[in-house]
Amino acid sequence: MYVVIWGIVKFIVLLILISLYVLFMTWFDRKVIARMQNRIGPKLIGFHGLWQPIADTIKSFWKEDVIPMGAYRVMFWLAPVIFITAVFATAFVIPFAPPIKTSHGLFHFSVVHVDVAVLFVFAFLGLTSFGVLYAGIASGGSKYPYIGAQREGAQMISYEIVLALSLLNPILMSHSLSFEKIVEAQTHHLWFVFYQPVAFITYLIAMFAVAAKVPFDLPEAESEICCGYFVEYSGMKMGLFPFGQYIAVLVLSAIMVIMFLGGWTGPFWKGCFFVGLIWYWIKIAFFIFLFTWAWATFPRYRYDQLMDISWKILLPIAVLNIFWTGFALAIGLPII
């Protein structure tokens, strides 16, 4: 009973936090990109337009909800729900702060604490592409969503493999699938990024692709296939797709920080909860900023080039890297 109540409380807190985060992120993206482009950005509502996302949300709730005539209605409704549920589920296992010791044992700042958190995240990240595929197919023969969904499907398959293979290296080195244990392993050594720079880079590239952000935002390339899979959506149903994307950005950044950058460990004041919290979020914020920064700077890859990068460059490198890690671990090279 205690566990269930705690779970529900944690879930509600997570829901509120994530919603606030997404609202803030829409403002942050617009403001930062505007400043990078020598513009002002949102400025009218609230302090420097800080309430703009709330106004936008209210507006999108009041918008007319258009369902195309030829759409498969059930699937059309289901697609954003599947997408948002799957993305949201990945956030369940992400620790939002370092664990603290209580009388009942360790208290974890994640909705569910599982020992195979990495597997959990990958299972649900894979599910998100179903939401997108459904959205594309359910739009009733509309061709742009269809192409967008095709792209998303191919992109997800190619890059999830790279993503998982890059994460295998820290897992091999820490002998664990649990985020807390992986972070703990990095307190004894240097951060894994120093042992595994190649895996770090492959993960970084695959991260952009899995989150479908520039320069890999092909499923929704607005200048080619006019926003791709959610062309036919309107109102809040449409808003759920970017909402989910922002959560994916957060989750992928958090995994990046946990796996390669030592999570909440920092160079000094080790063990202090608040210092660890600040370290943790500074690192995550940097990667979230990196997403925005790349959005403002880079053009977009082409579909075949995207596949080339995944299957011809990243995948062989990632596989070779695993061999190297396994070899080094087996013979006990001092680099580990």
Binding site: I33, Q37, K143, I147, C226, W295, P299, R302, Y303
Partner: protein, 373 residues
């Protein structure tokens, strides 16, 4: 077993599409993402400008030429004015100061057009930021044009026999400031795009047009120079005083989107070079020939016909005017480079992917005010 016909999907790109630069409609037949056939449909912005010309006096038609390619209105005015002057036989009597102003505004307008082109082309390929940087510099040019002509986009400034109004001292100050700033700003776009590996991957070996094809397809301007033709009307058939100015005609033999991009980037610098040479000496004198000073006085060219052309940023803009000795043209045909470029698209984009079609449209700089007329 699926027959090949089932695999081919017909996709309607446009007339409302973010990157067809206005109202181009392309009916793509795609196999997967590969283009099998393109059928371009134009005419969604057709306003019957050629019919209007037959019912307007020569002076009345000048503001209408603004509406051809609204991104470089000055050059349209200039092309029209030169065609009528050729018909009248007064092309050698334009005052020196008017010629100077014409060259300056034409080159400024060329930079302005290439800036818009660069921004939108980058936006098509996914880079968002160059657009805003480009418009920032274009704003300076528009301010200059507003200072001399009173309008920001549709100037109605270059008239038959000269220009409408004399330039002001403030214009010269603004021009000096712009010339000082522009090269470093140009470098920024260069840093963002030219050597970027994504940009190169997206544009190199895409939309390759050979030298013979380029001529056969009727391409002109930077699109032709990207295919290896060193062909600039300002050099080959110098008008105004372009023969006295030093400038290079950039050309690349690759013929792909990247080559056309490089041509336009280099052309901006060459225009800057021309402007700096112009700034050395500002001739005095009248800004318009005396007989054309009054707009209400009718122009009656002798019966005959003339084809006047000029090098505008997109290519060769020509006006074929047939006169019957009245104050209205009997027939006016506008040779619009965009129209020919739009009809060259099915040949240029065949066999590439959907994403490449967008890049190729952008590289031709098709604007539909001019294409549809």
């Amino acid at each position: 077993m699926s027959s090949p016909d089932i695999r081919v999907v017909e996709l309607n790109m446009g007339p409302q599409h973010p990157s067809t630069h206005g109202v181009l409609r392309l009916i793509l037949r795609i196999n997967g993402e590969k283009i099998e056939h393109i059928s371009p449909r134009v005419g969604y912005l057709h306003r019957g400008i050629e019919k209007l010309a037959e019912n307007m006096t020569y002076q009345q038609f000048t503001p209408v030429t603004d509406r051809l390619d609204y991104v470089f209105s000055m050059n349209n005015n200039l092309g029209y004015a030169m065609a009528v002057e050729k018909l009248l036989g007064v092309e050698n009597q334009i005052p020196e100061r008017a010629q100077w102003i014409r060259v300056v505004v034409a080159e400024l307008d060329r930079i302005a057009n290439h800036l818009v082109w660069l921004g939108t082309h980058a936006l098509d390929i996914g880079a968002m930021t160059p657009y805003f940087y480009c418009l920032r510099e274009r704003e300076m040019i528009l301010d200059m044009f507003e200072e001399i002509s009173g309008a920001r986009l549709l100037y109605n400034y270059v008239r038959i026999g000269g220009v409408a109004k004399d330039i002001t001292p403030r214009f010269l100050d603004m021009l000096k400031e712009f010339l000082k700033i522009f090269p470093e700003r140009h470098k920024e776009y260069d840093t963002l795009l030219t050597k970027n590996r994504i940009w190169m991957k997206r544009t190199k070996d895409v939309g390759v047009i050979s030298k013979e094809e380029a001529i056969n397809w009727g391409l002109s301007g930077p699109s032709l120079r990207g295919s290896g033709w060193e062909w600039d009307l300002r050099k080959k058939r110098p008008y105004l005083f372009y023969s006295d100015l030093e400038f290079d005609v950039p050309y690349f033999s690759e013929g792909d989107v990247y080559a056309r991009y490089l041509v336009r980037m280099e052309e901006m610098l060459q225009s800057h070079r021309i402007l700096e040479q112009c700034m050395k000496k500002v001739p005095d004198g009248p800004h318009i020939m005396d007989e054309f000073k009054k707009v209400s006085k009718p122009i009656k060219p002798p019966a005959g016909e003339a084809y006047g052309y000029s090098e505008v940023p997109t290519g060769e803009l020509g006006f074929y005017i047939v006169s019957e000795g009245k104050n209205k043209p009997y027939r006016m045909k506008i040779r619009a480079p965009s129209f020919l470029h739009a009809y060259a698209l099915p040949f240029a984009a065949r066999g590439y992917l959907i994403s490449d079609v967008v890049a190729i449209i952008g590289s031709f700089d098709v604007v539909f005010g001019e294409c549809d007329r």
